[in-house]
């Protein structure tokens, strides 16, 4: 059996945390993985410059959905500059598995959504 599907990953897939949308989010962004079509929308509410609440909505494989679920927990309480520092390594640490080249895109999709959202925020 593939060791990708550890208990915590299957748990987040089966019982996603923070699934849904936020009303009047400060940050809201959606991105599709063009290769497999996985979609993640990420909504973030800020308070005093920190993430007060984060929710995701999406469709995709176990890895992308579990990653999105974990990601909403991981970013809670972080400042914008802390969010900007997150990278792929943080995602691998969060998931607790190394992703091969064909699955990296699934795992980092929520991170990419947030990075795009932050880039847009800076432009505004």
């Amino acid at each position: 059996m593939s060791d990708l599907y550890r208990e915590n990953i299957l748990d987040h897939y089966g019982n996603p945390r923070n699934e849904g949308v936020l009303e009047n989010p400060d940050i809201s962004h959606e991105r599709q993985n063009p290769v497999c079509g996985d979609v993640v929308q990420l909504d973030i509410k800020l308070e005093d410059g920190r993430v007060k609440e984060a929710r995701f909505r999406g469709q995709g494989c176990v890895i992308s959905m579990a990653s999105a679920s974990m990601f909403t927990e991981k970013i809670k309480g972080k400042t914008i500059s802390e969010l900007q520092e997150l990278d792929e390594e943080d995602i691998f640490d969060m998931l607790g598995v190394e992703l091969g080249p064909s699955r990296v895109y699934c795992g980092v999709l929520p991170l990419k959504v947030m990075q795009e959202a932050l880039a847009e925020l800076e432009q505004d």
Binding site: S2, Y5, C36, G37, C61, C106
Partner: protein, 414 residues
């Protein structure tokens, strides 16, 4: 079993060294042949033998090695011409792959023949390789890009074709066999209708030439493209067959060495066919490898390969259809190619492919470079098993077992 095929899978499998390797501790079941095929010893040997004994650059070399390499390269061209029943080997152009072959036509024939107001017809079941070049051409020229629709069963809607043929249509570009649905298109009939409407026809044969006997003269198309790596040959070698009278009028695609007859400071005169379209040092060893692949396939017999794949596809279709939650895409079991795409309710194809990989079974997951088809069928990404001469019923059984295993693992209500 209806027809006893003369193909001996056990013998065939022994010809492919890679089939001995283990993946995840299990014997490899390679079911990703629509993406690329494995190489028999004969092809690997032809490549190394060529590099060990005969390699040099071709054409205009007077030394022994260059002459041997040139003879081998041109013999490969003749071999290809005979394999697809091309009436004239001058129409056989070596390219990198089918994609490059189609781009060659779209760039050279397209940019001289297509203008605003013209119509280019493709189908909704095209691989992106036979779609994006035409989409680009249409964007640049202002020509209309029309899509032949696909019926619910996965066949081309010929009434929709006829509608599109009624008008200023210049090119019909379509696939011989769908890389997702396994549908075998009635290309001879379509070519006849398109020609009657005054259009030229390009056939994307990437999924047909490797699997069944083809005859470009009988199909009567104007252009015909395929890749070597999908037919036991090396990567980096593909073929465009074109009617020489059309190729002669087309400007070159890439320019440089090898494709000129005379060069002056201000202008040049192009070389004759086929060299006009083969600028730069071509994939010489790969052409030799492709010839060896053709020899190998002929030895097994294309009729036998096709019969074997149809039998396997029908078996897979039946076995998969029996699994609850599995939906097989495309036409019914009979008459389709060895490509079987499907969805498994509640299991994303990436996750399915991952689980199957841990069981040594290699399949593909995603949109298979056919986004418009998935959109038209309202399909999520799909899983695809695709067969070749070395695949067996036992491997289909392992696929089925892997699907059941994934269903158990991901039996989570979301």
């Amino acid at each position: 079993m209806s027809t006893r095929t003369s193909l001996d899978t056990t013998t065939c499998r022994a010809d492919f060294p890679i089939l001995n390797r283990k993946v995840g501790g299990k014997t490899l079941a390679y079911l990703d042949n629509a993406a690329s095929t494995q190489k028999p010893e004969a092809v690997i040997e032809a490549l190394t033998d060529f590099y060990r004994k005969h390699y040099a650059n071709i054409h205009r070399g007077v030394h022994t090695l260059s002459e041997e390499a040139t003879v081998a390269y041109e013999a490969a061209r003749d071999q290809v011409a005979a394999f697809i029943h091309a009436p004239d080997h001058r129409g056989v152009i070596f390219t990198r792959n089918a994609t490059e072959a189609i781009n060659l036509v779209a760039h050279t024939w397209g940019r001289t023949q297509i203008k605003a107001g013209d119509r280019i017809v493709v189908t909704l079941m095209e691989h992106h390789s036979n779609l994006i070049p035409w989409q680009q051409l249409s964007e640049e020229t202002g020509a209309e890009l029309a899509y032949v629709s696909v019926t619910d069963e996965g066949h081309l809607d010929l009434a929709s074709l006829d509608q599109h043929l009624n008008g200023p249509v210049k090119m019909v570009a379509l696939t011989h066999i769908s890389n997702v649905l396994g549908t075998v298109n009635p290309v001879e009939e379509i070519v006849a209708r398109a020609h009657a409407a005054g259009a030229r026809v390009l056939i994307d044969a990437a999924q047909s030439v490797p699997h069944l006997p083809v005859d470009v003269e009988a199909i009567n198309c104007d252009f015909f493209a395929f890749s070597g790596h999908k037919m036991c040959g090396p990567t980096g070698i593909g073929v465009l067959y074109g009617r020489p009278e059309l190729l002669e009028k087309m400007p070159p695609f890439l320019t440089g060495g090898g494709m000129i007859e005379r060069v002056e400071r201000e202008k040049s005169k192009w070389a004759d066919l086929p060299m006009k379209f083969e600028a730069g040092t071509p994939a010489i060893a790969e052409a030799v490898g492709l010839a060896a692949a053709i020899d190998y396939l002929k030895g097994v017999g294309m009729e036998a390969i096709w019969a074997h794949e149809q039998e396997l596809a029908a078996y897979a279709w039946e076995q998969l259809s029996e699994i609850s939650g599995v939906r097989v895409i495309g036409p019914p079991a009979k008459g389709r190619s060895g490509v079987v795409s499907f969805t498994v309710e509640g299991v994303h194809p990436h996750d399915l492919a991952e689980i199957l990989d841990s069981e040594g079974v290699a399949i593909r997951a995603g949109y298979h470079c056919a986004h418009p088809l998935h959109q038209c069928f309202g399909l999520p990404p799909t899983a695809r098993a695709s067969f070749y001469l070395y695949n067996t019923r036992r491997e289909v059984n392992r696929l089925v077992a892997g699907i059941r295993q994934a269903q158990q693992l991901f039996a989570i209500k979301r």
